[in-house]
Symmetry: C2
Subunit: 345 residues, 2 copies
């Protein structure tokens, strides 16, 4: 609906030259194309006067580059991803890229849709937080030779660039921390998922028990389905508490799980950490506000996001740049919810 925009042609007409000259001058190619000084100055003046802004569509159509990145995440209304999105947005802008965000809701099908929509929109590349069962999508991108970087989650069997968290180490540290604080019956609530990072968190947790010489009890590990989190968490916690090896500490593998779990723990009237110590992945304001601040696994969000953009941009510049596979370290931020266990008298 804009008033007709100023085009190269308008400037060319006004300056009485061809559009070629205008293009050369406005792209700083006066030297190579040896444009006359006076004409160049004249063109610049007119461009300024007309407030000329090039048409990105035309540029993109010609160049095949849109200076646009597609960011696929699970859900922008989840604080974790919203944070990531913000960081990616800011970082991309530094390199002159615009970001288009799409939420997959952890559904492979939606993820497919997004990839297709964004490819149609000719994004130059993708940053993807993969959902379960999307290996074929990734393979498709590889086959099509589309540039992309996986963020936060990756597939160990696929040869892709990625920037993820060392989930095994993070979960191990979380478990080790609880053990150190005197807890012995430690449960983990994770998602039921084939995703590698989730499997790694489970493995890290179990390894921490093993190193701590604690015999793992099957009922300590609950893997809940994405779409029935609320109910399964309740049942899971009930089960853990009814166990012969009643848990005295609980690790949540993600922020969403922690929110749901803590709500239920509240409703049971359990006191944290006396009745149940807590460590969770994913920092959030909610944790600060809890009556007992929650110990959490701090993920280097800023670095994760920035590095992903960096890698993608360098791939876009040089398509045969070396593959980068980066695992970043998390840090256990100790708060009250995992304070030293008071031995039961």
């Amino acid at each position: 609906m804009n008033k007709k925009k100023v085009s190269l042609k308008d400037i060319a007409e006004k300056a009485q030259v061809s559009t070629a000259l205008v293009s050369y001058v406005l792209n700083g190619k006066e030297k190579e194309s040896r444009v006359g000084h006076e004409i160049a100055a004249k063109i610049k003046a007119i461009a300024r006067e007309f407030n000329y802004e090039p048409n990105y569509l035309a540029k993109s159509l010609r160049s095949g580059k849109t200076q646009t990145i597609g960011l696929i995440i699970a859900d922008i209304s989840n604080p974790f991803f919203a944070n990531i999105a913000r960081i990616v947005e800011d970082e991309a802008k530094k390199y002159g890229y615009t970001v288009i965000i799409g939420s997959s809701d952890e559904q492979a099908e939606k993820s497919w849709d997004l990839i297709n929509v964004l490819l149609n929109r000719q994004v130059d590349g993708f940053i993807i937080v993969s959902s379960e069962n999307t290996e074929e999508q990734i393979q498709y991108l590889i086959d099509k030779n589309v540039a992309f970087v996986l963020l936060d989650r990756h597939f160990p069997d696929l040869p892709t660039d990625f920037v993820s968290l060392d989930s095994h180490k993070a979960a191990f540290d979380a478990g080790a921390h609880l053990i150190e604080q005197g807890y012995r019956n430690i449960g983990l609530i994770a998602y039921k998922s084939r995703l590698f990072h989730m499997k790694e968190r489970i493995r890290g947790y179990r390894d921490s028990l093993e190193v701590g010489q604690i015999a793992f009890q099957p009922e300590w590990l609950k893997e809940v389905a994405f779409h029935t989190v609320e109910e399964e968490i309740k049942a899971g916690i009930d089960d853990m508490l009814a166990s012969d090896h009643k848990v005295d500490a609980l690790i949540f593998a993600t922020y969403r799980l922690a929110i749901a779990g803590l709500k239920y723990i509240n409703s049971l009237g359990l006191k944290v950490p006396d009745d149940l110590a807590i460590v969770s992945f994913g920092q959030a304001e909610a944790f600060d506000l809890y009556y007992c601040p929650i110990t959490y696994v701090l993920q280097p969000m800023e670095e994760l996001g920035k590095t992903a953009v960096e890698i993608l941009v360098s791939k876009l510049k040089n398509s045969n740049a070396e593959q980068q596979q980066i695992l970043m370290q998390a840090q256990v931020m100790v708060r009250d919810s995992s304070r030293l266990k008071v031995p039961v008298a």
Copy 2:
């Protein structure tokens, strides 16, 4: 980086016809353009076989429409805006639009940048959550005849479409609710801002006191600057508590303010609601998790977002559609933080 995409021309060559026919057929204009049945079928078959997807850039360049909406918000990492963004994203997709989100950080300058970047990207229209002092930007869009809808905030003096909350009524209700629950010394923490919705929240609060026949005390109202929220809130709460008319209830005008305020209230060891009742704007998970669930002003986010998209889309379809100015009603969701005041013995 994709393998060369299939274009109309490729199909035309394969089918031994001109690109015009292919275009007609694939756009369902076989009838009007009376394309032969066999040829049409052939073209469709080839298109399917080649897995043809039209190039949006070319389409857009020709049509002048990009089927893209620019969404300008304060900060995507703020849950309130992230929610809005998600709703807008989903709703826009239903109409075939893609959304590009930009965060202004409440800074007029960044907002300008975003508008320019997005205009260059040829977005068809905007949905804008305005920052302070951006009236001239809005006026610029009006002058340029760019389609847009203001969301959540609007300028009463500018003739624009908008979808906002009835902030006066919402704040009034919040105040009235507290009065009804027996609180008499009610404070309000708001942003220091010229923005209308903020002024309205303050006015609504004051009107509720007046109707409740409570004499307003200047120290009950704190307007804190955006960039020094933390410190100013602390000072403000200290002041309210030290007052001769010590507050027994507090309203927060936004989610961010509530988070900062509650943290400080926690650290002071005050108990909600016995020492201080609370009502806040903006629902959030954090409120559910608080030891005493927070009474909040429920904004009809879903409807706000959907309606904004709807209005914008109808404007894009018909540029002289009637101007829509919609104020939606919020609802006070009563929880424990504003329970009936227990009279001090």
